[in-house]
């Protein structure tokens, strides 16, 4: 049981990373418009995040320091500052979207407008980060997020056209630029930078040592594919229900409806619970990541394993980030639209996160004989090219397609 619970960090990171509000809506939208023809992007994303999360986990376990801390030391404060600004801006946008996502899930359960829930969600989030133990948070939200498995079962009940999985092309009525726009958004959602910062900082919080390398790898190779599989559940159920009707999916309510159509109120309740846990988990990850990156850049004490008084500046950054996110949401900006923009801008800053990780994972000064092997380097370099291509293409394709319209 203890060993099983030890992988909850990976499960929470992956569920939060793969099934946050942006992924839920963009994956469902992809399924509704393109059927299962984007399945390959999810696979590419899963392998990509596994490659880099394994590297980052190894760096953390061996050096006992989080990746961001090493980026600053290895690349110098100027380059790290560019990295910090890009990562923090994306993390803050994601945090706003996640708080909005939790509020939207509560709206579906209560019928009350989501804006009424936003301040309450932010307060509970802050209290949880302030008072509750890291391991407890991991277990509650990582395991509750597993209720999204209901979507995978619903996939088989609703029966989408599985032959589309091998067709890498837009269906009739859609075009290639829009197909690639959605592909970039899905890829960026799998590789969101905060996942790595949270995962490695979480590893430090759990005091990983070189002995925990296996644990780190189990977290990566179990957690991330599981997160990707759950994201596939949204893709497939939307493909089954909405694609034949020629519909688009723009709201969380539409994304979760297939579970209700497959298993009634129990199915719908379970998937909303899963969405609540996944988005709340993602909100925790992003708030902590905001604090982690800033504190690690400036060399402050950080982490939930320290008492708040011992890491006052870290907790202040977390609190200010939550307040900024709430302020953004209270302008009545649509959280779903916010995540669509966030995913595209996230694609632009991906190289800033992943290039330094590749550099550090090859540095014997930090990793000794645990530096990247040939396979890790080959995959790392291939993925770096994919990441660069996505980053370069993101804005032109966004303008060309009018945000995938």
């Amino acid at each position: 049981m203890k060993r099983l619970l030890a992988v909850t960090l990976g499960i929470l990171t992956a569920i939060g990373g793969f099934v946050d509000i942006g992924d839920i809506v963009s994956t469902s939208e992809a399924g509704a418009r393109f059927g299962l023809s984007h399945t390959w992007v999810l696979l590419v994303g899963i392998v990509g995040i596994c490659v880099y999360a394994e590297m980052a986990g190894r760096v953390t376990a061996v050096s006992k320091r989080p990746v961001y801390d090493l980026i600053r030391e290895r690349l110098g404060p100027r380059v790290a500052l560019v990295n910090l600004l890009g990562a923090y801006a994306i993390t803050l946008l994601t945090l706003a979207a996640e708080i909005g996502g939790v509020a939207l899930a509560l709206q579906l359960l209560s019928g009350a407008p989501y804006l009424l829930w936003v301040p309450a969600v932010a307060l509970v989030l802050w209290l949880a980060l302030w008072r509750v133990k890291f391991s407890t948070l991991e277990r509650i939200f990582g395991l509750a997020g597993l209720s999204l498995v209901v979507l995978l079962i619903a996939t088989f009940k609703l029966g989408p056209d599985f032959t589309q999985m091998t067709k890498i092309a837009p269906p009739p009525g859609e075009n290639w630029p829009t197909y690639f726009f959605v592909a970039i958004a899905l890829f960026a959602s799998a590789m969101t930078p905060y996942e790595v910062f949270f995962f490695t900082s979480g590893g430090v919080e759990e005091r990983w040592t070189p002995r925990d390398l296996t644990l780190s790898r189990v977290n990566v190779f179990l957690g991330f594919p599981l997160g990707g599989l759950l994201a596939f559940g949204f893709l497939a159920t939307s493909a089954a229900v909405y694609e034949p009707l020629g519909m688009r999916v723009d709201t969380l309510g539409q994304a979760v409806l297939p579970a209700g159509l497959a298993f009634g109120q129990v199915g719908l309740g379970l998937v909303i619970l899963g969405v609540f846990a996944a988005t709340f988990g993602a909100a925790m990850e992003t708030s902590l990541s905001a604090g982690y990156t800033v504190a690690q850049y400036f060399g402050w004490s950080w982490g939930k394993y320290l008492r708040p008084r011992q890491a006052a500046r870290f907790h202040t950054v977390v609190l200010v980030s939550i307040l900024l996110a709430v302020a953004a949401l209270l302008t009545t900006i649509d959280p779903v639209q916010l995540t669509e923009y966030m995913l595209i801008f996230s694609a632009i800053v991906l190289p800033l996160t992943y290039l330094p990780i590749l550099v550090i994972a090859n540095d014997r000064g930090y990793l000794g004989d645990k530096v990247n092997g040939r396979l890790a380097n080959t995959l790392g370099v291939i993925y770096l090219f994919v990441i660069l291509a996505a980053a370069v293409a993101a804005v032109p394709i966004m303008i060309l397609t009018g945000m995938g319209g």
Binding site: Q107, L108, L109, S110, G111, G173, V241, L245, G246, M247, R248, D250, T251, G253, Q254, L257, G260, L261, G264, Q265, L268, G269, I272, I399, G402, G405
Partner: protein, 140 residues
């Protein structure tokens, strides 16, 4: 010297990006822009009607909870109103666009009325939904 070069390059890129964005935002609406806006409004109306029908049917069968139904209906109403508002805010730039406007505007008005009816009679707007789908197919 190197820092100045980087600074100048960064400034040029930012200026170009802002200039490009400014041009795209302020350029006058042409036939293509109008067609895109009309198709988008028709798609939004179609999706709002279809979602409402799906949820209404699920409510009848007891597959979804009442608060969920209320929230989904609200979302559909907001989406329809938003799409129609965006469409009516654009003046048709030429005769072809005016014809398109005259074709779509009545459908959007009917959709507004039909949406409330669909909440209790799931198939009340099936024909209208088909008409909107045909409009999208014709103009895409």
């Amino acid at each position: 010297m190197r820092a100045k070069w980087w600074g100048a390059t960064a400034l040029s890129v930012v200026a170009l990006a802002w200039g490009g964005a400014g041009y795209l935002i302020t350029k006058p609406v042409d036939f293509h822009d109008y067609r895109v806006a009309a198709v988008s409004a028709a798609e939004t109306a179609h999706d709002a009607l279809t979602t409402t029908a799906l949820v209404a049917e699920a409510l009848e069968k007891g597959q979804v909870m009442t608060p969920y139904g209320k929230s989904a209906f609200d979302d559909a109403r907001k989406a329809l109103a938003g799409g129609a508002k965006k469409f009516t805010a654009i003046e048709p730039p030429d005769e072809r666009c005016e014809r398109m406007h005259d074709e779509l505007a009545p459908l959007l008005q009917q959709a507004d009325a039909a949406l409330t009816r669909t909440e209790t009679e799931p198939h009340a707007a099936d024909q209208l939904s088909d008409a909107l789908e045909r409009f999208v197919e014709q103009h895409t």
